[in-house]
Amino acid sequence: MTRSFALKLLSALLVFGAWEIAGRIPVSYAFPTFFDSMSALFRMAFDGSLFVAYAETLKPLVLGVAISAFIGIALGLWIGLSSWFDWLFSPIFVVMQAAPLAALIPLLVMAYGIGLTSKVFVVCIMAMPVIVLNTAGAVRNTPQNLKAMSHSFLATDRDVLLKVIIPAASPLIFSGLRLGVSAGFIGAILSELKITPTGVGDIITFSRSIADYPSMYAAIFSIILLAVLFLNLLEKIEITLFEGNVRGYASD
């Protein structure tokens, strides 16, 4: 653990160092240094504006991600289990994946207004397809002999689903969730950039329009930080839920 922490620290140092240097050259007037961005971040954190912004941003994000995770996994399981459902619905998710969201935003505004609903919708469109498609794929690949075993011990369909299919599919479900969550973050920001600038999206657009680049980068940095923390949390959940699935690395 300490070694992996040291490695993380080292690679972080390298990257931030490179950022600082690039900012000092500078590569561009629009590219602030690492320290400028961090001080902007601390300033926003201390005057509280960052937290106000996050209170705003997290609403559609958390709501959308939660909806996508629940409905997405459920739909994914269903699609993976029923060829009929697969036939009817997986094209929709392929289309959703491919839909150029940024161009569709006027449509969303039309349909759902400029409030929370359309932002939640954007987050869902971004997050759900990958969760659904990954889950469905993993379900199809559940080891046959384990299914036979649980049938012989009288598993109900629900048991097979909960106790065999889901644990066996969990590595892929979680990688789908990770992507879904991060896509949700993208969606939340995108909706704040494109539908109505509020929250962190507002900090980004506003500081960009007044050329306060350190604040803009600080906002981007903070959202990435948040997303990474969130993904780590997800990984912890995966490890505690499915301990035996972590069989380590093939090289060990």
Binding site: S150, H151, S152, L154, E243, G244
Partner: protein, 267 residues
């Protein structure tokens, strides 16, 4: 050692033993491969029946059909008078490839059958603990399958099947990976279950010696497409001293008889 065999033998001779499982005209083809062809066989209640036959002849297939895991291409299985439509609580299966959940530890794997039957956690773990001790895995409750040796994995699968306390036990080469010592113990345990709990065992093995020692009846299967070629009912062996059995002429005669009949069909 007590004498379960004599009981069974008695029953067989006097009143015909009640039939627990019967396979009627079972055929099974996998695409091109004809695994079973018109196989019929009866398994009396409270007795242990062994299936002996060349590798790939369809023993696993037959067991899975009895378990309700595979549909026969034709024919039907009747368990306790009812035709089999799928898996039931009256049958438990020991898998040839163990079929352990890789993400669950030994305790959970053994308790899994009970878990599926909705037994409460503390209760099923107590039962599982007991069977884990019984198969000699005490101390490995928290290990994961990939941390166990081959034989230990097999014993996990065995403990799982025993713990659900089913009427009919379908065992597909259940002792193939354990040492002779342990195997002997398990055989004894099986015989106790047959005698005291009136359980029905359907047992696949490749060891003629094992079959002769534990079985009430031995069904010898032909190579693919498989039918029953012969049924042998060893009697009066179980009451002998196990350690002396190896030199017992009666025992050796039966082994030789089976050996000869297997060979004649194979060659």
């Amino acid at each position: 050692m007590v004498m379960p065999q004599t009981d069974a033998a008695f029953r067989t001779d006097a009143v015909p033993a009640e039939v627990a499982v019967s396979a009627r005209n079972i055929s099974k083809t996998y695409g091109e491969v004809e695994a079973l062809k018109n196989l019929s066989l009866e398994f009396p209640r409270g007795q242990l029946t062994s299936l002996l036959g060349p590798s790939g002849c369809g023993k696993t297939t037959l067991l899975k059909i009895i378990a309700g895991l595979l549909e026969p291409t034709s024919g039907e299985i009747v368990v306790n008078g009812k035709p089999v439509k799928g898996p039931g609580p009256d049958r438990a299966f020991v898998f040839q490839d163990f079929a352990l959940l890789p993400w669950a530890n030994v305790l959970r794997n053994v308790a899994f059958g009970l878990e599926l039957r909705g037994v409460a956690k503390s209760e099923r773990e107590d039962i599982a603990e007991k069977y884990i001790k019984e198969v000699g895995l005490a101390g490995f409750e928290k290990s994961f399958p990939h941390e166990l040796s081959g034989g230990m994995r097999q014993r996990v699968g065995l403990a799982r099947a025993l713990s659900v306390d089913a009427d009919v036990l379908l065992m597909d080469e259940p002792f193939s990976a354990v040492d002779e010592q342990t195997r002997r113990k398990f055989q004894e345990d099986l015989l106790n279950l047959v005698k005291h709990e009136n359980k029905t065992f359907i047992f696949v093995t490749h060891s003629i010696e094992e079959a002769v020692y534990v079985s009430d009846q031995i069904a010898i299967l032909l190579p693919r497409p498989s039918r029953v070629s012969e049924i042998i009912r060893p009697t009066g062996l179980r009451d002998k001293d196990v350690d002396m059995l190896r030199r017992d002429p009666e025992y050796l005669d039966i082994v030789d008889q089976i050996w000869a009949s297997l060979r004649s069909y194979v060659e």
